[in-house]
Subunit: 216 residues, 2 copies
DNA sequence: GTCTATAGGTTGATAGAC
DNA sequence: GTCTATCAACCTATAGAC
């Protein structure tokens, strides 16, 4: 008992927590090794550099989440509803993620353009986003492909913000918003974003589309 | 002609651009003075510290935006619709903000909990959020106060994400999402978030509210 | 694999001449 | 107000003993 995880895992755990709390650049390797109670040099032994560590920390969590999303998406069958698709996307992060430090980390990973994260986003998120956009497009045949992607962008933003502010939300709202009930949180999100996706395109866009169609 | 702004303004402009692009901690004072073409010591002369500079940079932009939001909110009259209220909130950042470097900056300010920004959020955003939550609550009498704040949180997240990723969006989506037409962007957002706000509360929440009401 | 020691660079901030 | 010069603290990364 009291089997302390190996050094590599301890570093990943500590980095995950601190990166999520303070951000990537504000967290030094010394912060991490202090939190993990390991030697400073161990970081460069197990991971070559701070950048590699950041990538490892993020990928360890993002990969299973995104795999699970695709799994749930396939499980929705032939003609899923919008809500089915949204659930496949949101359940792995809102309901199934039970390590509290992961949510802020993923939030930051999605909220920091320009970071080296661009590569991760391209490899880990772009293909996933495309699969979900296709599914949503089939469920919403009246929306143009661009409109689907725009709305997806809005939803990802809302979810990202939720992941990142969840630890502070209850205090910030004076106890009004309690995020401990994950199932309720999921339903709230599905209701809100589902209604957004199902809303008809506004006239201006319809006109644009019409013009484009006329030109062909 | 060629009237170069004074040093203080040049520093604010450069810091705004770089903070928005790279984040607060990743931007050094030397980066800023190089971009502004001023002397390093000028930063500590005009602003006492890097933290003060960060605060000044953010407040210079947030204050007029939030003032304008309240102005537009009051202009909606006695019984504004949900869309009216959303427009009052979104127009100042999506349509009227015509300095391209400001959007990413505000996005980062909203996407970085734990930063010293907590104070700014408390002083600059909390009162504003409350005013808008009240207006939305009156326009949506079937929603509980908590539900209104949750949905507001989703919307702020979507807007924040939009502000931050706008410069990269067109390239990321292969040209599918063009954010140069601000009026269209505003309408897209109003349609999406408006529908989300107007969606009925899901059953689980209604039950909760009922139980709370019964207890009193 | 884990440690100490340290190299080599960058950071924020300031003192003091002009 | 603006500059040069500099400090002390911090950083990442590595070399080499155990």
């Amino acid at each position: 008992m009291n089997d302390r995880p190996d050094t590599k895992t301890r570093i990943l755990d500590a980095a995950e927590k601190l990166f999520g709390m303070k951000g990537f650049d504000s967290t030094s390797l010394r912060d991490i090794t202090a939190e993990a109670e390991v030697n400073l040099a161990a970081v460069n032994y197990h991971f070559q550099s701070k950048d590699s560590l950041m990538e490892a920390v993020i990928c360890r969590r993002i990969e299973p989440v995104n795999r699970r999303r695709l799994e749930l998406l396939e499980a929705t069958g032939e003609n899923p509803t919008v809500d089915d698709i949204l659930r496949a996307f949101l359940v792995p992060v809102i309901v199934e993620l039970n390590i509290s430090s992961v949510a802020p980390l993923l939030g930051r990973a999605l909220a920091d353009p320009g970071q080296f994260l661009e590569r991760i986003i391209r490899t880990q998120f772009a293909p996933l986003g495309q699969r979900f956009a296709e599914a949503l497009g089939r469920a919403l045949p009246d929306l143009s492909p661009a409109e689907v992607v725009w709305r997806q962008h809005f939803m990802v933003g809302g979810m990202t913000h939720l992941l990142m502010w969840r630890p502070y939300l209850k205090e910030m709202t004076g106890g009004l918003c309690d995020s401990s009930d994950r199932e309720a949180l999921l339903e709230r999100a599905v209701v809100f974003f589902g209604a957004g996706f199902r809303a008809p395109s506004f006239a201006g866009v319809a006109q644009e589309e019409h013009l484009v169609a006329e030109r062909n």
